[in-house]
């Protein structure tokens, strides 16, 4: 696999570290626990342990540790290993810089 880093260009996948599915969102304890401890617990259980384990195109986090050290979100087909778009992860420093025009 080769990954087209938006900052560094196409690099071999060994430069990157994988985190996994980008879709689970960390629950906001302050909000979710208002309804009681049970719903918050359920939300965290879902976030920490349960996975869609997509067979097909999945949005996932990759970290370019061997390059620009940016967190990226890549679209990749888990059945064929084919990559789609690769963009900076929202909130990553590089994105903020890009938005500020630097």
């Amino acid at each position: 696999m080769r990954i087209a880093c938006p900052f560094c260009g196409e690099r071999e996948s060994g430069e990157f570290t994988y985190l996994g599915d980008a879709s689970p969102k960390r629950p906001n304890f302050a909000v979710d626990s208002v309804a009681g401890p049970e719903p918050a617990e359920d939300a965290f259980y879902d976030y920490v342990y349960l996975r869609d384990n997509v067979a097909g195109v999945m949005r996932e986090y990759w970290y370019h540790g061997g390059g620009c050290r940016s967190w990226l979100i890549a679209e990749r087909n888990t059945v064929t290993h084919e990559f789609g778009s690769v963009t900076a992860a929202p909130g990553a420093g590089a994105t903020k810089l890009a938005q500020a025009g630097e």
Partner: protein
């Protein structure tokens, strides 16, 4: 047909023309008491034990390809029971005991060879951890032996003892561990299950579940709808996909693990060796090829093939521990899809859906578990309660915080 030295001699004298097929090729019936999805080692072993131990013979094993075409035919054939945590220790020892009598039970040569495993250690801390694991094993009646460098050098003189970075200080040996012929295990269980009335139906992919009042009542397949009293899933690698047909989301990710075999050479490695400073393990098949592997590739995959960085990593591990491996040529390399659970430990349990049972999350330790997995899953299917040695492999352990995390990595499947 009973296999023996006499049947072999008789067939040899008649030009090997007298062999009959080892199992039938039946068309699916309309109804079975138990339908098992997945004709790998675990599914076939489950069917065998259902018929032999629990008297349930109206059983079908549905396989989307040919039996043993998944991970049962892709693993590195190692069997061992050197686990340290409650839940694992007893379960894998049960499996080891079943391996030891499997060939007699099945009347099939599975080439079970107890040639031993040595896990090398390379630091004081690792020695302490291995001593602890060895003690845990011995307390539980499992053989374990802590060896120092001089003892290992006598057995395995070809290793790189004086590496400045990863000196070999010793190892933990389990002499009863070894290897078995993975395809023969599949065929042996298939034949023995078939003899007891189990229908093994190949080229039959499950495409959905049928339900009556919420309860699973059968499966839809590429060869028609089959009704079932109970349905068991033994589809490691594709568990999430099959569970999704029933509307379930599981604590499992699918990852690719690569394995490698070299050209055949004369006998060199007596048992199984693992490198403790990286992730590398190696044994030699009876054909002479060096069979080895290492880490997962690390990203979710259903592709049954991996990528170069891990090939490089595995070969580096090999060169570090056993430099002469650089002189043999690699023959083949392949990938299998691992059912990576969130704590690195399997699941054998009922699902929240009535009539649907789960055997999953084998990570990359499924092969050695084959007989015990079959027995425990058969017990669960027959009795509706967990087998005593698999009682901790529950689906709800993640919610209860009762993880069995042998490696201590937390909920990060690609690190287990």
């Amino acid at each position: 047909m009973k296999y023996s030295i006499f049947s072999l001699a008789k067939a040899a004298l008649s030009g090997h023309k007298g062999w009959t097929r080892a199992w039938r090729d039946p068309a699916p019936k309309n109804h079975y008491d138990v339908v098992i999805i997945g004709g790998g080692g675990h599914g076939l072993a489950t069917a065998y034990f259902l018929a032999r131990e629990y008297g349930i013979r109206n059983v079908a094993v549905l396989e989307k390809g040919w039996i043993g075409s998944g991970n049962a035919g892709r693993n590195t054939t190692i069997i061992r029971s050197n686990y340290g945590l409650p839940g694992n220790t007893g379960f894998y020892e049960l499996s080891m005991k079943l391996w030891e009598r499997m060939e007699q039970d099945l009347n099939y040569n599975a080439m079970v060879s107890q040639r031993g495993i040595i896990n090398l250690y390379h630091s004081d801390a690792q020695r302490d951890a291995f001593a602890r694991r060895g003690n845990t094993m011995r307390i539980n009646g499992i053989d374990a032996e802590l060896l120092d460098a001089a003892q290992i050098r006598k057995e395995l003189p070809f290793l790189n003892y004086d590496s400045a970075r990863f000196p070999i200080m010793g190892g933990l040996a389990q002499r009863r561990a070894g290897t078995a012929r993975h395809d023969a295990v599949v065929w042996g269980y298939a034949r023995a299950a078939d003899q007891r009335g189990v229908d093994i139906i190949q080229n039959c992919e499950v495409t959905g579940f049928t339900r009556i009042n919420g309860r699973i009542s059968g499966v839809e397949t590429t060869r028609g709808t089959i009704s079932a009293g109970k349905v068991g899933m033994a589809v490691a690698g594709n568990t999430s996909r099959v569970a999704a047909m029933a509307g379930m989301k599981l604590p499992i990710e699918s990852h690719v693990l690569q394995a490698f075999v070299s050209e055949a050479i004369k006998p060199l490695i007596p048992g199984v060796i693992t490198f403790g400073a990286g992730h590398f393990y190696i044994s030699q098949s009876d054909k002479g090829g060096l069979v080895f592997g290492g880490d997962l590739d690390g990203y979710n995959s259903y592709a049954q093939r991996g990528n170069m960085p891990v090939v490089e990593d595995v070969c580096e591990g090999g060169m570090a521990v056993m430099p002469m491996i650089g002189r043999v040529r690699m023959l083949r390399q392949w990938g299998g899809i691992m059912d990576m659970s969130m704590d690195g430990t399997p699941i054998i349990d009922k699902t929240p859906i009535d009539g649907l049972y789960l055997n999953a999350g084998w990570c990359y330790g499924g092969f050695k578990a084959t007989p015990a997995s079959g027995l425990a899953f058969a017990h669960l299917l027959a009795r509706d309660e967990p087998h005593s040695e698999a009682a901790l492999f529950r689906l709800d352990r993640f919610r209860r915080g009762a993880m069995i995390d042998e490696k201590g990595q937390g909920a990060q499947p690609n690190l287990h």
